[in-house]
């Protein structure tokens, strides 16, 4: 069973690595679909808890997959997921950046970048929707989410401070 899960997490990471346009967060809807809906490795609550943990930790947000790997197949899954989500991307970026000099100005790469951008935004918003559905269970939660949205949109306060306040609101039973 565990070996099977390790293979599955490996395949998920390898297949999604080159599709993470706009960074790791655009994979949230797909990861949720795989880990919660289809493979049933965890419930909604654990998924959003893991997302919160990965957002609190430093480093690339794509490392979120290693938490899913951990849930699926223990520490082997943790390491395999982190390594395999990075590997195809590493090779692609290495090869392209070696051949890159001057391509930036060419229209084709600009058209690809401009074309993919709105789809990526849609994926990021879908990710926010998935996290909101899994985390907000009442008025209190909605208030915290909207307050966080406004604070992050309008100010440059360090996210960790906002997370701390949100944790306090949770402890006080407001959520």
């Amino acid at each position: 069973m565990k070996d099977n899960a390790l293979l599955q997490i490996a395949l998920i990471c390898l297949s999604l690595s080159l599709l993470a346009f706009g960074g790791g967060k655009s994979l949230i809807p797909e990861l949720h679909k795989e880990a919660v809906t289809e493979l049933k490795w965890m419930n909604d609550e654990r998924f959003v808890d893991f997302f919160a943990i990965s957002q609190t930790a430093p480093g690339p947000s794509i490392l979120f997959v290693s938490l899913i790997g951990y849930q699926a197949a223990g520490w082997a899954g943790f390491i395999a997921a982190a390594f395999l989500i990075m590997l195809p991307e590493f090779i692609l970026v290495y090869v392209i950046s070696a051949a890159w000099t001057g391509i930036r100005e060419k229209p084709l790469s600009q058209i690809i970048a401009d074309g993919v951008a709105p789809v990526t935004l849609g994926l990021l918003l879908s990710g926010a929707l998935v996290v909101a559905k899994g985390s907000i269970h009442g008025t209190g939660g909605a208030v915290v989410a909207i307050a966080a949205f406004l604070i992050f949109s309008l100010t440059k306060i360090n996210p960790l401070l906002v997370m701390g306040l949100a944790a306090l609101a949770g402890l006080l039973g407001w959520v």
């Binding site: 930790a57 690339p60 692609l92 990710g127």
Partner: protein
């Protein structure tokens, strides 16, 4: 620390390339100071201003390539900068420096979570944090999208992606492979139309 004055050196291999340990440590530091976000801003601060390993122009070019290619922007940036400094071994040092400290911290956090997640206090605190994360994700998307939401064609593809992936929960691969090229085609057609209108008086 080599001091901020080196950022004025012109682009080019003016200085000896740094060692692999130095590259690893530099990216490890970058990850560790980015607690709470702002990794891209820190990358510029450390690579350009502090170390002088890249000029401002080189950094911008690396950043725009990192944003165009799939994957984490900061991981891409590490690969590009590492390759520029010392080829394959430099790129490997940079990506390991960026990810290993973050993985260790994540491993500690997830162990703590597994040990204490049955405690009501942690459960309640995390309920608050996850709601804030939903707000943070939406804010990030809106911040990145402020340019695109104003263009009707871009807005159409944003909404189409939200409906297909976020609401109807289609898989990422078919959606990305259909909407991506379609959207790029529309951008290309719009460019062609614009240039042909400019040419014909």
């Amino acid at each position: 620390m080599s001091g901020p004055e080196v950022s004025k050196t012109p682009a080019g291999p003016a200085q000896a390339p740094p060692g692999l340990t130095a590259i690893f440590m530099c990216f490890a530091k970058m990850t560790l100071v980015s607690f709470g976000g702002g990794l891209t801003a820190w990358s510029r601060q450390i690579l350009v201003a502090e170390k002088g390993w890249l000029s401002d122009d080189e950094f911008l070019e690396a950043l725009s390539l990192s944003q165009t290619l799939p994957g984490s922007i900061n991981a891409n940036l590490a690969v590009i900068a590492g390759r520029k400094l010392k080829g394959m071994s430099g790129a490997v040092s940079a990506i390991l420096g960026l990810t290993l400290p973050a993985m260790i911290i994540l491993a500690v956090l997830v162990s703590l979570y597994i040990s204490y997640c049955s405690k009501p206090a942690l459960d309640k605190a995390l309920d608050g944090v996850t709601c804030a994360c939903a707000g943070l994700s939406a804010a990030t998307a809106c911040h990145l999208g402020r340019k695109h939401f104003k263009k009707p064609m871009s807005l159409f593809f944003v909404i189409a992606a939200v409906l297909l992936v976020g609401v109807f929960r289609f898989s990422l691969i078919p959606v990305l492979l259909s909407l991506g090229p379609l959207s790029a085609l529309c951008v290309w057609l719009a460019c062609r139309l614009k240039t042909s209108l400019e040419k014909t008086p």
